[in-house]
Amino acid sequence: MSTLHSLATDIALGNVKIIDLTHTLDPDFPVIILPPEFGQCARFRMEEISAYDHRGPAWKWHNLTLSEHTGTHFDAPSHWISGRDVPNGSVDEIPLDAFVGPVVVIDCSEGAAQNDDLELTVEAIENWEAEHGKIPTGTWVLMRTDWSKRSGAAYLNMRKDGPHSPGPNPEAIQFLINERNIRGFGTETVGTDAGQGAHYVPPYPAHYFLHGAGKYGLQCLANLDQLPPTGAILLAAPLKIKNGTGSPLRVLAMIEG
């Protein structure tokens, strides 16, 4: 039996399960909020073109409005100024093999339940590795915080001094890039950086270092609690948008068992 045939059989038999890590594209789903004098991320909007009516009798369809960075989405290197000159840095240029690959999940949900501003640190990564082994080269690293279970105002958790949500500190993200050569980093929050990420040096270190190194980002992920710490495969292919800096996408994971 070929590898693919064997995989298809395992999926059909339930030996390999497909997990959906995607939020529904919904007009009410929060997007990142920047100071209002800056350009803003478009919210997801859906306008009916026709619905089996005088505008088109036998068919229903919609026009969509959204940003590259609305909902569960992929960040390409060209999203950040540090990645502007990275070769093949936009979603239409990224080699296909980047979109399917191994994934590890670092569970920070206990700490995030206690501390909205929980940092992923080098120490936390090393502790995780002590239990689950060294993060292999070319792996997606996802930070589980159970943030996706929040909704409404608790998700962005915006206060007068900005949003408060967990994320990696500059040392941790550099460790993952320089010492582990990961494929990319993903979170359940609205961005790969912590809510207060603007106050690190450099600001937004996850964006800055990941994309500067040609790595990818995934954010607004869901159902990370259904993934094992190691052993899953992630399928995350952004739309093929010319010069796109990112893209909403359906993120799927395959797990055994």
Partner: protein
């Protein structure tokens, strides 16, 4: 004295809602100047340039000297009631449904003898003031009221039919985020509104008005985002049948003209909120409101748009915002025509620069939220179509009427230098 209007009982769900009817709409072109004055609450009559006589009803020539140079001047509305009668029935459905109806003759201090509607508190031979008001057809009619105000005089059925008074009515303010929303809600409740619904976009992030609105009794904050058709349709499905007055204060504003921006991002947002937002609201709420303009004490009465006075003539410092408001103003005129047959009134409140972050670099005077609220309330009370809020809005209106091109030239001066 007028009896206070009692809060209406709940509707009998087995009875058909009353079908809207209208008083006669036909007028001569000369008479429409009276309507234009009524639209902004002025009492104006024709004055002959030649012989200075004040005449009514409006004609194409002076009834005294046949002169044709007739100017419309604001004149004293005072007079005294000579005779009055009560019409018990009429061939016109509108009056038949509302009979008995008081009519009478008033001798105005400025000369003319007029036939007009009579407020219930007026007594024969007493001094009166004549109001020039829009009726359900959107045409000017005159009604005499007593000089002295009494506590519940706005509740007189004939006067109330010529206004969009908020008392006992249920009102939707579309944008909880707008700095003027708490002041608007407060003023409406103080005027006797039964409920103030407030639409709130993006409840997933905090905004400065939330606590103020939450502390007001009879204010219901509900999800509404005018840029999201499904959200507008959903709220109309829920409360469209009991929205008597809709006040659209949703606004997107960023400074800048065409070249200072360099892209169409904010302009698109301005059109989405200011122009298409009105269209979405009108498509979702308009038909239901139009069907309920004769629905008793809390019938649908008015649609209110809060617009920038720069809708009339662009100010390049806020060039793209002005343009979106020009589009919105034009759309409101279409809505006037589309709502006209139902008797639902469209009131535009034009404001000058408002006291908020986006107008921070501008010198005073700037319009405060309380001033917007007062203008809206006065306009609803007087049944107006056009309200000018603040000195700058009034100044722009006057200059625009005097010479729109001169105003345009003044608004578009360049600057010297390299």
């Amino acid at each position: 004295m007028t009896e206070p209007l009692t809060f209406p009982p709940k509707k009998d769900p087995q009875k058909r809602s009353a079908t809207p009817t209208r008083p006669p709409e036909a007028r001569s072109r000369a008479s429409l100047a009276l309507t234009a004055a009524a639209a902004e609450g002025r009492f104006a009559l024709q004055v002959c340039d030649e012989c200075q006589i004040v005449q009514y009803p409006p004609r194409d020539a002076c009834m005294n000297c046949i002169g044709t140079d007739l100017r419309w001047n604001d004149v004293s509305p005072k007079g005294h009631l000579l005779a009055e009668t009560t019409v018990q029935t009429s061939t016109k459905l509108f009056f038949r449904e509302r009979a008995p109806w008081r009519m009478g003759s008033v001798k105005l201090d400025v000369g003319p003898l007029i036939l007009c509607h009579i407020h219930g508190d007026c007594t024969r031979d007493s001094a009166v003031k004549v109001l020039n008001r829009l009726d359900k057809s959107g045409q000017a009619v005159l009604i005499a009221i007593p000089l002295e105000r009494s506590d519940h005089m706005d509740d007189d059925p004939q006067l109330r039919a010529l206004s969009a008074h908020p008392k006992h009515r249920r009102i939707l303010i579309t944008d909880a985020w707008n700095p003027n929303t708490p002041a608007l809600a407060r003023a409406l409740l103080d005027a006797g509104a039964a409920t103030v619904f407030v639409g709130e976009a993006e409840s997933w992030r905090p905004h400065p008005n939330r606590d103020a609105l939450a502390s007001m009794a009879n204010v219901e904050v509900l999800p509404l985002d005018v840029t999201d058709t499904s959200s507008v349709q959903k709220l109309a499905g829920e409360i469209g049948g009991k929205t008597d007055i809709l006040i659209n204060n949703a606004r997107f504003l960023r400074p800048g003209g065409v070249l200072s921006r360099g892209d169409t991002g904010f302009a698109r947002d301005e059109m989405e909120v200011n122009y298409l937002g009105l269209m979405r609201l009108a498509q979702a709420f308009g038909p239901g409101m139009c069907a309920r303009t004769a629905d008793g004490v809390n019938s649908a009465a008015a649609w209110v748009n809060i617009l920038s006075a720069y809708a009339l003539s662009n100010t390049p410092e806020y060039g793209c915002y002005s343009a979106s408001n020009a589009a919105t103003y034009s759309l409101s005129q279409s809505l006037r025509g589309e709502f006209r047959s139902s008797g639902l009134r469209v009131m535009n409140v034009f404001v000058g620069p408002t006291e908020d972050d986006w107008h921070a670099p501008l010198p005073p005077p700037k319009v405060l939220p309380q001033s917007v609220a007062r203008s809206v309330l006065d306009g609803l009370n007087d049944g107006l179509e056009d309200v000018w809020c603040g000195d700058i809005a009034k100044d722009i209106r006057d200059r625009w009427r005097k010479n729109a091109k001169v105003l345009e030239r003044e608004m578009t001066f360049g600057s010297d230098g390299a």
